[in-house]
Symmetry: C2
Subunit: 347 residues, 2 copies
């Protein structure tokens, strides 16, 4: 089959690779229908996150089950499925508690030795613990596919930011990061009943989408000026819940500063290079909490799926470009240059 | 009157100072019955936290109301009261929400221009918002006084650590810090239903008290070895809730490492010198949260008080020495040299 590999920084290629096959009785092989490129893939693309030359890449996909191992009970060939961005065994303490990202048998699509999402097919370990069933007729519903695909990562991650930040009905929320995750955070906050949602961003196409997703205010300033602006909008107090969807030291500092005393920063921006430090003395006197991390998408998809299927939310709006598999390298370039927000790959 | 002042590092004196008097209609003047020395006072004593020469010190006290301003409604001369370690107006958004430490009119006993707790009397701003009424007959009950005094700070702060760390019935809890706050954290965790409480400490008198307060296990190791030991005790997983009651970068790192994936560190150790940084990448993949800060004792005292009065908990056991006012400088020395855990001052 053909799949996307990363050969080095800025060097994304589509190559012929071995066809996936069942290796363990709990495996499934899934033919990919839709995949996409994630903002976090850009860390590898830019050489900030190390990858082996030739490693697969991509961790978000929808697909049709082609084959299942003898121990797979919940899926059969022909099923339409969504994969969360990590696999998990479904039976350990953490999986049963809904923290599948901590499953000791879990892994990340595209890690060394595994298939990535940006390819024609994927061997899925622990299919029963990992995949989520979708309605079969949705597989050909072009209007639905982007929203379902977003459940793989960005919508679940935005939701994790909002849940971790304890967004509640009536909350005032600030969102740091105007990428797909930040925008999905806006959508998640609105879904959870936030009364006021302040999106930080300055790119018109992104802030327009933020408003469409439920942002009541947009703040174009950054850093200290953004903190000032948000305080002004909130009677000097700041936001009950702040969603941090960038992962740099500066964005984290801004996020903590935006929080109202007693508030919580829900952090989902992948920290890079150990630089995303937090100065506790900035939080101590104000009782600001910090919660979040890598989103257990597998726990959230069943909760979010009905709203996507019923059109209550459409996180698929974050995709502003669609390419075929051959267009993936160009898709990386476009996202790296910020000429695309998020690129969908249709097979 | 006579009160404790700090003249410089290691220079604690008892001096003649002006008698407190009503300055605002919302003030009360309280004659101190019991006060104490806090681990956090030692930061000033050691010169780590800056103080003006001659600044008052002490922020925990029980007393008898001597005089009230004309706007004070809830207290009258003769009332026996406990003061939380900050004053607060009782009417602002934060006070009404139970985060009195963020009251914009609040302040800290001993801050420049205010009385400290380690003196014969204290002018209490916003008496109605600040003080908590105690039964009058408790004022002469020597067995009760230490426990009531502990509500001023250490018991409320230990409780804040436990609440912030989301201790629940059945939780496994680890406590970093064997000072009075850490020990009260053990007591608070047991009170909240923790099933297993692992206290880190190596001083026999302190670990004995930890066991008396409900610790089920004691770990004498520090740093990485402590993390190993706690993982061994918890089937490799770590603690659902970790109480951080030290405030150094090392203790915070240990605390985060002790947390089970998805767990929370409740931090109440006062961070010093901006050094108590946290590496977010240590938390991200494991979804470890961080919550806490300066404890809103005023919110907790009414909840904890009945248990102290009924003998359900006796946080007063943290006091292992009692001095008169003249003995305060010696009390500081003893706590600095760790020959005393916590010193009570009886007037």
């Amino acid at each position: 089959m053909r799949a996307t590999v990363i050969r080095g920084p800025q060097d994304i290629r589509v190559e012929e690779v071995p066809d996936p096959r069942i290796q363990q009785p709990t495996d499934a092989v899934v033919r990919v229908v839709n995949a996409c490129i994630c903002g976090s893939d850009l860390w590898a693309y830019r050489g900030v996150a190390a990858r082996e030359a030739g490693q697969r890449i991509g961790h978000e996909f929808l697909g049709i089950v082609e084959e299942t191992g003898p121990a797979v009970r919940g899926f059969a060939p022909g099923d339409f499925v969504v994969a969360p961005f990590v696999w998990s065994d479904g039976v350990c303490d953490y999986c049963r508690e809904g923290l599948q990202t901590s499953c000791p048998h879990g892994g990340f699509w595209g890690q060394v030795g595994s298939d990535g999402g940006q390819g024609e097919a994927v061997r899925v370990p622990f299919a029963d613990g990992t995949l989520v069933q979708l309605p079969k007729d949705a597989a050909t519903d072009e209007a639905l596919l982007p929203g379902l695909l977003a459940l793989s990562d960005v919508m679940s991650t935005g939701h994790h930011a909002a849940v971790s930040a304890r967004v509640r009905p009536g909350s005032t929320v600030a969102v740091v990061g105007d990428g797909a995750v930040g925008l999905c955070g806006v959508l998640a906050a609105r879904r959870l009943g936030a009364e006021r949602i302040i999106a930080l961003g300055r790119h018109r196409d992104r802030t327009d989408l933020a408003r469409a997703f439920g942002a009541t205010d947009v703040v174009a300033e950054r850093g200290e000026a953004a903190v000032e602006a948000v305080r002004e909008l909130t009677g000097g107090q700041g936001a009950h819940a702040v969603l941090e969807a960038v992962g740099t030291e500066e964005s984290m500092r801004t996020a903590v500063s935006l929080a109202r005393d007693g508030g919580t920063v829900g952090y989902v921006g992948v920290p890079h290079g150990g630089s995303a430090g937090v100065d506790i003395s900035q939080m101590f006197n104000r009782n600001v909490a910090l919660a979040g991390g890598v989103a257990p998408a597998r726990a959230y998809i069943p909760e979010l799926l009905p709203d996507v299927l019923e059109g209550v939310i459409d996180p698929g709006a974050v995709f502003d470009r669609t390419v075929g598999l051959d267009g993936v390298p160009e898709g990386y370039r476009a996202m790296d240059e910020r000429t695309a927000l998020k690129v969908r790959i249709a097979f």
